[in-house]
């Protein structure tokens, strides 16, 4: 059995509104969108216009730097709109679903293909984009061979889906094919991390060609970046890949059936939802289908992704490319009289300054209030408590703010993604936008290294 890696640092935010383990059938959705913000650092070149007819798997746009890297339509239909934001920056391609045409990329056994053939198939089918690389936490560059590939088989984020439940209900038996495909792309190992004490899921348990690791501990133990740090950390000059376990399935499906089909199981969760349950959905689908008649009254925020790292979308927005949960939370746009001085019987906090810390309570309601104002860094020694990595968070942040590229490199910018710092941001009494700083540091590195 694999060695148990026990993490003590971190924090489980015990948020109310967990999804009940009931899987609902896929709701019919007629509108899809592909958001450019899901791919940081990407410079996209459109290959469609408004009105172009597409099939599932048709190219919508490609990367400027690597034109062979395609991003495709999740469904067949017509491009309804190409949404642009400020300064005409591309924000989203919106597609109305019509018919069910899909492009056949050809079924094949990946083990009988060469590395180039596997790579080409993934690039042209649009499934390459599901692979992300460290450093930088961006879509993997096709010109590099990764030292290893890391897959997290559990998610510890607040209200995240139980991936054991998800994998037990996933259609078909494509996981092994996906792993086989990945095994052609690296000379190193494929690491799969599972939670200590996770359920027996045959499809996972019997996986070949992978190294299993077991992790125990609070969030962010399920973050793949944290797992990499403890299994085999990224060092300067090398690249590792990470991939969502449900996308390994999608990859296997591509090789087994020949079609681009990223159907996945997600959780609909949060205190703003009437019936939090599991749903089948395709990335890009409007969330209107699953939210319909399922939201409470009042000011709510719909988030594609978890509450720490997700993106705010409208109640008709499209589900993000990499996400596995839709969270609905009440907005916190109210003023609280002497809110900073209350005993806090029902206020969840990392800090033991609230009475709630000393009361046994399982779940808490949190909203989107900032609970304070922006300040300079004052407290020390606490950010480290929620970041289970050998990294000095505040020093790294200050190096980024100072734009000191060499120091950022020395302090471990290659190992991190903004999601790893989400808890630092959550507990910060100075309300610093830490994830944004990390991303700006990563972007600076990308610019400097090219």
């Amino acid at each position: 059995m694999s060695k148990l890696i026990r993490l003590r640092k971190g924090l489980d935010i015990r948020l109310a509104g967990k999804a009940e383990k009931i899987l609902l059938p896929e709701t019919a959705v007629t509108r899809f969108g592909v958001r450019f913000a899901d791919f940081p650092g990407l410079v996209a070149r459109l290959e469609v216009q408004e009105g172009t007819s597409v099939s599932a798997g048709s190219v919508l746009f490609h990367d400027k730097l690597f034109p062979e890297m395609k991003f495709v339509s999740p469904v067949s239909g017509v491009v309804r709109e190409i949404v642009r934001g400020e300064k005409r920056v591309l924000t989203e391609v919106v597609i109305d679903q019509v018919g069910s045409d899909k492009i056949d990329f050809g079924a094949a056994d990946p083990l009988k293909l060469t590395r180039d053939e596997v790579r080409t198939k993934l690039l042209s089918s649009g499934l390459w984009a599901v692979i992300r690389q460290r450093p930088y936490h961006i879509v993997a560059r096709p010109d590099a061979v990764p030292r290893a590939i890391f897959i997290s088989a559990f998610d510890t984020a607040p209200l995240a889906p139980d991936l054991d439940f998800v994998m037990a209900n996933t259609h078909g038996n494509h996981l092994q094919s996906g792993i086989n495909a990945l095994s052609r792309l690296t000379d190193g190992k494929i690491h799969v991390s599972r939670e200590a004490g996770s359920l027996r899921v045959p499809e996972l348990d019997n996986l070949q060609k992978v190294d299993f690791h077991r992790f125990a501990g609070p969030h962010p133990a399920g973050n793949v970046g944290v797992q990499i740090h403890h299994i085999d950390p990224v060092v300067k000059g090398e690249v590792v890949w990470t991939i969502d376990i449900q996308d390994v399935v999608a990859m296997g499906r591509l090789f087994d059936t020949g079609f681009h089909d990223r159907e996945r199981i997600i959780a609909l969760a949060g205190t703003g939802v009437l019936h939090p349950k599991y749903h089948r959905i395709r990335p890009g689908a409007t969330v209107r289908g699953i939210l319909n008649a399922n939201m409470k009254d009042g000011g709510l925020r719909v988030i594609s992704g978890n509450v720490l790292t997700g993106k705010r979308i409208s109640s008709e927005g499209s589900f993000g490319f990499y996400d596995n949960v839709v969270t609905v939370l009440p907005e916190g746009d109210y003023s609280e009289f002497f809110g900073w001085a209350t005993p806090g019987l029902k206020k969840f906090s990392y800090w033991r300054t609230f009475v709630s810390s000393f009361l046994p309570q399982k779940e808490y309601n949190l909203d989107t209030n900032l609970h304070g104002g922006h300040r300079a860094f004052v407290v020390t020694g606490h950010y480290e408590n929620v970041l289970p990595m050998d990294i000095y968070p505040v020093h790294l942040l200050k190096a980024i703010m100072a734009g000191d590229v060499e120091l950022m490199e020395n302090l471990g910018i290659y190992e991190v993604a903004e999601e790893d710092f989400a808890l630092c941001e959550f507990i910060d009494p100075s309300k610093t936008e830490i994830q944004e700083i990390i991303r700006s540091g990563i972007n600076l590195m990308i610019k400097e290294m090219n």
Binding site: T368, L370, T380, G381, F426
Partner: protein, 385 residues
């Protein structure tokens, strides 16, 4: 409270850019956010945030200071009765007497300090930082009760402007602002910060019993050898002359408990500083030598400002070492230095203030080495890979 909120929302535009009272914006904002946690929601990054903010962080420290403040008020009264031979005061009378003596110190400290903070925030266009709420309470507690108010005002202004604002405000300062204020007075007006008169209300104006000495234990030890010192129990409980809030180890330990349970104060610094002082004291006990080196090691923990400095001053997150490993080193060295200054330096009976200020200066250096070790670990991975 809706009435108040509505009223505030109505007056808000007056203080915004272009409003009639634009120049008072920071003042308005400070007041408004004091009354109400604003309705601001998250726009970037994590959608949910901890309920903790800087106001609450600072409030915790102030609450932790209250036992020392209360005991200080009582002790001011108690010492006054002793010096003047008053025998019929009740505990409450002593407390009230002391409270009225301390109150002006607190008021002057807050008015001057917060005034400067408001102006600085307005100039920078920042929100008011709550850091001074703690500093403003610390300063009266480390002053002799008889210090003239204008001196408090001058030292506060010095500490806030030179010690903090020129570095960029709370979070950027190198030295602990409260200790900067005290050090400023200590070197500028030594007569008011040392000796055997200032620690007890009324003595500087003459009077008092014949032959009564209001000297602090440390000063007594310097003058007449440590045999003259009060009993350890008295020093532990705190019924001795000294700065307002520093005398009672018991009251300070209650505060320490609050800081440790809430996690606001660093246990690493408190522990290592205590062990550092204790270890150095024991080492000196072993060496023999002068009478001072023979002071029982545990005396160092209950004498003078050590306890107060350990719990409330050395742990200031901004001026202390910031890395966890660095905190152990910083604390231990501070503790060692306290004892060295006390024992080997006859000019300064009180070493805690100087030791902490000195280590404040070295804290970034300690962090530098700790962070460099981290960098080296990372570089080593590259070579072996």
């Amino acid at each position: 409270m809706n009435f108040l909120l509505k009223k505030m929302k109505k007056t808000e535009p007056l203080f915004q850019k272009g409003g009639r009272f634009e120049k008072l914006h920071s003042f308005y904002d400070g007041f408004a956010t004091f009354l109400f946690v604003p309705d601001k929601v998250t726009t970037r990054g994590s959608h949910i945030r901890d309920h903790m903010d800087m106001k609450r962080t600072m409030s915790v420290v102030i609450i932790a200071l209250l036992p020392a403040l209360m005991f200080g008020a009582y002790n001011v009264g108690l010492q006054h009765t002793r010096a003047f031979g008053i025998v019929d005061w009740t505990l409450l009378q002593m407390f009230w007497f002391g409270f009225l003596k301390i109150l002006p110190l607190i008021i002057v400290s807050y008015v001057v300090g917060l005034g400067i903070e408001f102006i600085a925030a307005q100039i920078r266009g920042h929100e008011i930082n709550e850091g001074y709420l703690v500093t403003g309470m610390l300063i009266p507690l480390i002053m002799p009760v008889d210090v003239p108010l204008w001196m408090v005002a001058v030292s506060v202004a010095f500490a806030v402007i030179i010690g903090k604002e020129i570095f960029g405000g709370t979070g950027m300062n190198i030295l602990n602002p409260a200790l900067t204020a005290r050090a400023f007075l200590f070197f500028s007006y030594p007569a008011w910060m040392t000796g055997d008169k200032v620690w007890i209300e009324g003595l500087t104006k003459g009077g008092g019993l014949d032959g009564f000495s209001g000297a602090t234990p440390l000063a007594l030890a310097k003058l007449d050898g440590f045999a003259q010192m009060p009993s350890p129990m008295e020093m532990f409980i705190g019924t001795i002359p000294g700065s307002v809030g520093e005398t009672s180890v018991v009251a300070i330990m209650i505060g320490a408990l609050i800081l440790l349970v809430t996690g606001v104060g660093s246990w690493r610094i408190m522990l290592s500083m205590t062990l550092g002082a204790l270890g150095m004291g024991l080492l000196l006990n072993l060496t023999g030598g002068s009478e001072y080196t023979q002071i029982p090691a545990y005396y160092h923990l209950i004498m003078g400002g050590f306890a107060f400095g350990t719990v409330f001053m050395a742990t200031d997150p901004v001026s202390a070492a910031q890395t966890n490993t660095g905190k152990y080193i910083y604390g231990a060295l501070t503790g060692i230095l306290v004892v060295i200054i006390r024992v080997f330096n006859p000019a300064y009976p009180e070493g805690t203030m100087l030791a902490i200020l000195l280590m404040n200066v070295f804290a970034p250096l300690i962090d530098h080495f700790v962070v460099n070790a981290n960098i080296n670990r990372r570089l080593k991975r590259v070579r072996t890979a």
